[in-house]
């Protein structure tokens, strides 16, 4: 069954996917470590702690130390996953990730819940809208956000197999489950959900399901949409973006500042190729606030309606 025909009824936060997958990985490989910074419960590593205490470290509320400690572990052959919230995992430990993880290209994973606007009622201080942009600018770093539970599990599994730094971003809140267990995902390769002739929509993370709904609506209106889940924004799948350029029109959708995230990564490819037009839908270079998640998306135009409107305006 095509993903467009599915009725999306079940929802799950992608932080749950990390929590489940990391236990599986940890059991398979004793070198997989989790480093917590006191927020294990909300980052969903409680099962790992219970079942694999020998592979777990909790450094308390000390993120900078967590990143450096992970680097030290990695030099001995461990594969540490530092588990925290995206604001801290990208910014509080940014320099430690740069100096001690990315510069020596060590095998450390930064696995972060509370990506984008998803910690909605926590307010602007806890909503990471710039994390992927910051980490995208560090050499050697891979930057990933899965769209749902299943894809996130697969991407976490693959991240563990890459010998180098990876930043993984998860949702705090529940998002619709899009994919079956059988779907495969490759880091650095866009997942094509639908081919089309008129316009391309490239989305990632918790906005993929919105892009999917918008695609259905546009198809009803007679617009042929090509839809990509760009779960990896670095390295960006250039080939996939170039293919979209054949349509001349691209809309990017992301739960991240429109600066430096998916929209920017796609625009860089488009600008270098010298043809085509991009419209970026995402956080409008403004901080969030405490509000329902859907309200925050709406305040930034990250909605099905706005994607449809933007597409029609480009045609």
């Amino acid at each position: 069954m095509s993903i467009l025909e599915k009725t999306l009824t079940t929802k799950k936060a992608t932080r749950e996917a990390f929590g489940d997958e990391i236990v599986k990985l940890g059991k398979e490989n004793k070198d997989i470590y989790v480093i917590d910074v006191d927020i294990a419960k909300s980052c969903k590593t409680s099962t790992f702690i219970k079942e694999l205490p020998h592979q777990h470290i909790n450094v308390g509320i000390a993120e900078q130390n967590a990143a450096g400690l992970a680097a030290g572990l990695a030099t001995t052959g461990k594969i540490p996953f530092v588990s925290t919230y995206a604001v801290f995992g990208s910014l509080r430990m940014a320099e430690q990730i740069r100096q001690e993880v990315c510069y020596p290209n060590l095998n450390v994973k930064i696995a972060c819940s509370h990506g984008g606007l998803t910690p909605a009622n926590d307010g602007g201080s806890h909503q990471a809208i710039e994390d992927m942009g910051v980490l995208r600018s560090f050499p050697n770093m891979t930057v990933i956000m899965g769209a749902d539970y299943q894809s996130t599990r697969k991407l976490v599994e693959q991240a563990a197999k890459i010998n180098g730094p990876v930043y993984l971003r998860f949702t705090r809140d529940k998002v619709p489950m899009l994919y079956d267990e059988t779907e495969e995902f490759t880091i650095g390769k866009a997942k094509k959900l639908k081919d089309g002739k008129d316009i391309a929509i490239i989305a990632n993370g918790d906005t993929v399901h919105l892009a999917l709904e918008a695609t259905k609506e546009l198809e009803k209106q007679g617009v042929s949409v090509k839809l990509l889940d760009m779960h990896t924004i670095k390295p960006i799948d250039r080939e996939a973006v170039v293919e979209c350029l054949e349509l001349g029109r691209i809309i990017t959708v992301e739960d991240h500042n429109i600066l430096n995230g998916l929209g920017s990564a796609v625009s860089e490819v488009v600008a270098e190729e010298g043809k085509g037009k991009v419209k970026r839908i995402g956080v409008q270079d403004q901080f969030g606030q405490s509000a329902p998640y859907e309200k925050l998306l709406e305040l930034n135009g990250i909605t099905v309606e706005n994607i449809v409107r933007t597409a029609n305006a480009m045609l």
């Binding site: 900078q64 990143a67 450096g68 400690l69 001995t76 020596p104």
Partner: protein, 277 residues
Amino acid sequence: MKNISIEELKEKAIEMRQTAVTMIHKAQSGHPGGSLSAADIMTALYFKEMNIDPKNPNYEDRDRFVLSKGHVCPIQYSALALLGYVPYETIYTLREYGSPFQGHPDMKKCPGIDISTGSLGQGLSCGVGMAIAGKRDKKDYRVFSLVGDGECQEGQIWEAAQTAVKYQLDNLVVFVDNNRLQIDGFCDEIMPLQDVEKKFEAFGFETKRINGHSMEDIVETLDEIRELKNGKPKCIVLDTVKGKGVSYMEDIADWHGVAPNDEEYQQAMEELAGGLK
């Protein structure tokens, strides 16, 4: 551990200092002050204490060394060059394009560097990670880390310290190069550290404070703590003099990161040849 006498170590320390000053002079760039204050402990570690193998720099069970105050790498590079990790002539390439001797230690470019450092306050955390791995894997290796007293102004040092105590890392030894100076002047004026030994002790470390330029004291202390498996990480505060061994550099903050000119270099080499007074 290697068998080497204190007298031989003192001779090595002379070579270490001369090599460091030579490379900084050739590069006309680098950090002589802290390299010289750290010279004696570095000599004792590299030529006696640490279980390392220059022919096999990455062997799994080796002792690890983390130069948290990465800018004094010329003294570490001196050890690596004298021990044969790299050809001795490498000392003439410090800070040059393509050199394993980067401005700050780079584990990907230089054999014998266990972790890249350079941004103050961060190395000790890496050392804690290595020491935890050693404990979990039931390995006998130890982890040695040199931090600066000025560097202890970084909060992350204390994050790492509390973690070392929590995980009972008696395989970790932290040396504080207590030379009392930082770039802008005396540490006590810039940001007083108070009694750094008491601070580490309060965190739960086994501590000791010694003259960091007495090879006798250094060796005696290393002997004392070698087999001390009491569940406590160790902190040895080394009272040192920045620029030690070169009269015009001693206790002068301005020699933190300045290279000697030709005349100053000649004088330094002559003074160093006589050993520490």
